[in-house]
């Protein structure tokens, strides 16, 4: 099936075209929904069979290129539409189509009755089309096509309910913000691409990486390439300093938050760094930057997540925080651990978002967790699946989150140092705490909503079955990457699978210190016990002794306000960047350049003609004899000229 991998790109595109062009005529929600979901479902099956086919091959033969046609041919730049099937792209493609399919099915239930049902599915399919291009691309240009495409779909879907209010403005503003911030990152990515082409004279992945491996290129060049690419990744994957768009992206429908802003699109930056691992590994300074940025983002976002009251906002900051972990893994050279976390995170975070969507659905669009409480009884399935996801993200064994997160923490300790591990563990504890704060406030305790007007109800099967599927994946997803110390001789399966992709990068890094198994188990135990303690505290505070939370926030009111207002980052950006741009645009670009210069030129030309013609038209007196005199004088002059020029 490997040679048919292009169908996984074509089918979502076909789904987009059918629903986009004829959706408004079809009207039947079931038909539209299953066209959209079916396209992704079949893609998933194709990827799955390609995966098993590849798995059956020896490790050296697992990389294929499926070339379709030549796209651009400009001088020495040759770009073709070609899809690369290898261990990394197959892993990502499985996540995207698998989780994507589940979320598509969920959306049929969630979006039921929406006036633009067909438009939603058209956009979702377009997103999968772009995402598959991004993942399967065998060159930077095609990757960039997907990169921009997912950005566009993100924009379209955040602003899907364009007529709704969102916080202080509208969903359109949130969409615009996401797009503009992403564009800043894309600019960095473009610069990185230019520099790669300048250095290696090609944009094809295999050629670039082969030349990077063979050619001698100065570390400075590598550093700039890696830095520019990483700037692109910070935009797409919501890292400091470009993370501000992701929390606002929650303005979109909840399945969108699950699919795009948790499971797939935001991991594109991680994927790109992993794909270019050799380039990053050649720039040790930038590797440190990646690790530090990832670590800071993880901690920073987790602290904000502690106090947010909007269910989706908490999950959004949690996503930013988890993405930080993935970049920490990239930065310390644990590429496959990072991709492993991408996978497990896709399961449990998609589950958390879909669960939140189910709650929002049942609570009539109420998103404030202070107005939930005691939903356990009304929504048992949602509660159970949400609980599984919360345990998974908290890193309690044997659920999936434990394996991936602990592997990252261990790699951070082994490759980078104690402090990286320590901050990582603190973040993990905060994660466990805010997840169980969210869980307890939503599902446990007494109802805090107005029971006379709000009647919470469990969501339909179409929504709960996807939750259950993801819950199962969240539980068992970690077992494919059981760490070496437990797995024995076979080693870590997931590592073994991805190893060939990162082999060259690992040779460049070669910084594996020797650490004992005792250390690894000790650190693991510390983080698990810590997470369990966090969960206990969260339960204690938010179920039994709410006053502790109130007292603490009253005592540290300054810090509380700081966190509640997200460190005032949005405000700072507003003051430092947005307002100056507005001011310059208004006072100079608009009032001087546009009004005075451009309008002045246009209107000036018109008024000069107006004045001149105002004078000239007086010649036309209407007196016939005046014309006759002029005519006669003209004839006389012409005669004179003819006679004397002869």
């Amino acid at each position: 099936m490997t040679q048919y991998i292009y169908l996984t790109v074509v089918l979502p595109l076909a789904g987009f075209l059918i629903n986009g062009l004829f959706g408004s005529k079809i009207k039947n929600e079931k038909v539209i929904g299953w066209i959209g979901s079916g396209a992704i479902g079949i893609s998933f099956l194709i990827v799955l069979s390609a995966f098993f086919q590849t798995l059956g091959l020896p490790a050296e033969e697992r990389q294929h290129i499926v070339s379709l046609f030549n796209w651009l041919s400009v001088g020495s730049l040759q770009v073709s539409i070609a899809y690369q099937v290898d261990q990394l792209s197959l892993t990502m493609a499985l996540i995207v189509t698998g989780v994507g399919f589940v979320i598509h099915v969920y959306s049929i239930g969630y979006m039921h009755g929406d006036k633009s049902f067909w438009r939603f599915f058209a956009y979702l399919n377009l997103f999968i089309f772009a995402m598959m291009n991004l993942i399967l691309a065998d060159n930077f240009v095609l990757l960039f096509l997907g990169w921009e495409g997912v950005g566009l779909c993100s924009y379209l879907l955040i602003g899907f309910w364009y007529d709704r209010k969102f916080e202080k403005s509208t969903t359109s503003d949130a969409a615009k913000k996401a797009f503009v911030v992403n564009r800043i990152g894309d600019f960095g990515f473009l610069l990185g691409m230019f520099l790669i082409f300048l250095t290696f004279n090609t944009l094809n992945f295999n050629e670039v990486f082969a030349r990077a491996n063979a050619m001698h290129v100065s570390t400075t060049i590598y550093s700039f390439i890696a830095l520019f690419l990483f700037i692109g990744a910070t935009g797409k994957s919501a890292q400091i300093p470009l993370f501000v768009w992701l929390p606002d992206a929650m303005a979109g429908p909840t399945p969108v938050s699950a699919l795009i802003h948790a499971a797939t699109m935001v991991t594109a930056g991680v994927y790109m760094v992993a794909r270019c691992s050799i380039l990053f590994a050649s720039a040790p300074a930038i590797m440190t930057v990646v690790a530090v940025i990832g670590l800071l983002t993880a901690l920073f976002a987790a602290t904000i997540g502690l106090v947010q009251n909007d269910i989706k906002k908490v999950l959004a900051y949690s996503t930013v925080s988890q993405l930080g972990y993935m970049f920490l893994a990239m930065g310390v050279g644990a590429f496959s651990a990072g991709i492993f976390h991408v996978m497990t995170h896709a399961f449990f975070k998609a589950l958390l978002f879909l669960g939140a969507g189910s709650v929002i659905h049942g609570m009539h669009d109420q998103q404030d967790i202070q107005k939930y409480g005691g939903l356990k009884k009304e929504m048992p399935t949602t509660y159970k699946t949400f609980l599984i996801a919360a345990i998974a993200i908290s890193g309690i064994p044997p659920l999936s989150g434990f394996f991936s997160k602990d592997e990252i923490l261990w790699s951070a300790y082994a490759n980078a140092g104690f402090i990286y591990w320590f901050i990582g563990v603190v973040t993990a504890l905060l994660t466990a705490f805010y997840m169980f704060r969210l869980l307890n406030l939503t599902f446990e305790g007494k109802p805090r909503y107005d029971a006379h007007h709000v009647h919470p109800h469990e969501s339909p099967k179409l929504m709960t079955v996807p939750l259950m599927i993801l819950a199962v994946l969240s539980i068992v997803g970690g077992f494919i990457g059981i760490p070496e110390i437990f797995a024995g001789e076979h080693g870590n399966n997931f590592h073994g699978w991805l190893e060939p992709i990162f082999a060259n990068a690992q040779i460049r890094l070669s910084h594996f210190g020797s650490h004992t198994h005792f250390e690894e188990i000790l650190l693991m135990a510390i983080s698990v016990i810590g997470a369990a303690a966090s969960i206990y505290f969260a339960r204690h505070i938010y179920l039994k002794n709410q006053s502790i939370a109130e007292n603490t926030s009253a005592k540290f009111i300054g810090i509380y306000r700081l966190l509640l207002n997200k460190y005032f980052v949005d405000e700072a950006y507003d003051k430092a960047v947005v307002q100056p741009i507005f001011k310059v645009s208004e006072s100079f670009l608009w009032k001087i350049t546009d009004v005075k210069l451009i309008d002045g030129l246009v209107n000036g030309t018109a008024s000069v003609i107006d004045v001149v013609s105002g004078k000239v038209r007086k010649l036309q007196t209407g007196v016939a004899q005046t014309y006759a005199v002029v005519m006669m004088l003209g004839i006389v002059a012409a005669l004179f000229w003819i006679i004397y020029s002869l």
């Binding site: 007086k618 036309q620 007196t621 209407g622 007196v623 016939a624 004899q625 006759a628 005199v629 006669m632």
Partner: protein, 100 residues
């Protein structure tokens, strides 16, 4: 035989009289008559040259000019009558609304 200059000078005088009439008179009919005078001055020149050069084409031209002049005077007089009916004047200084 009368020399050719006599005819041509007469023709020139007639033409200039016509031009002066067109440029100075205010009555549309007088202007119209002056135009006819100019046409006939041209006709005289044609006939003169035709006779002196022994070429009949000039005579032929005169007939054409007279035909066209007849048609033109018919149309022109009709316009003048129509104008008079509308404006009760044929003073061309007062007929000057076709302007800016």
């Amino acid at each position: 035989m009368i020399p050719i200059e006599y005819y041509l000078i007469l023709s020139a005088f007639m033409f200039i009289a016509g031009v002066v009439g067109v440029l100075t008179r205010k009555n549309a009919i007088i202007v119209f008559m002056s135009i006819e005078l100019m046409l006939n001055a041209a006709n005289l020149s044609f006939v003169t040259f035709s006779s002196f050069l022994g070429n009949n084409i000039g005579q032929l031209f005169v007939f054409f000019v007279m035909t066209v002049a007849a048609a033109e005077s018919a149309v022109g007089l009709a316009i003048i009558i129509a104008l008079f009916r509308n404006k009760l004047t044929i003073n061309i200084d007062e007929i000057n609304i076709l302007k800016w």
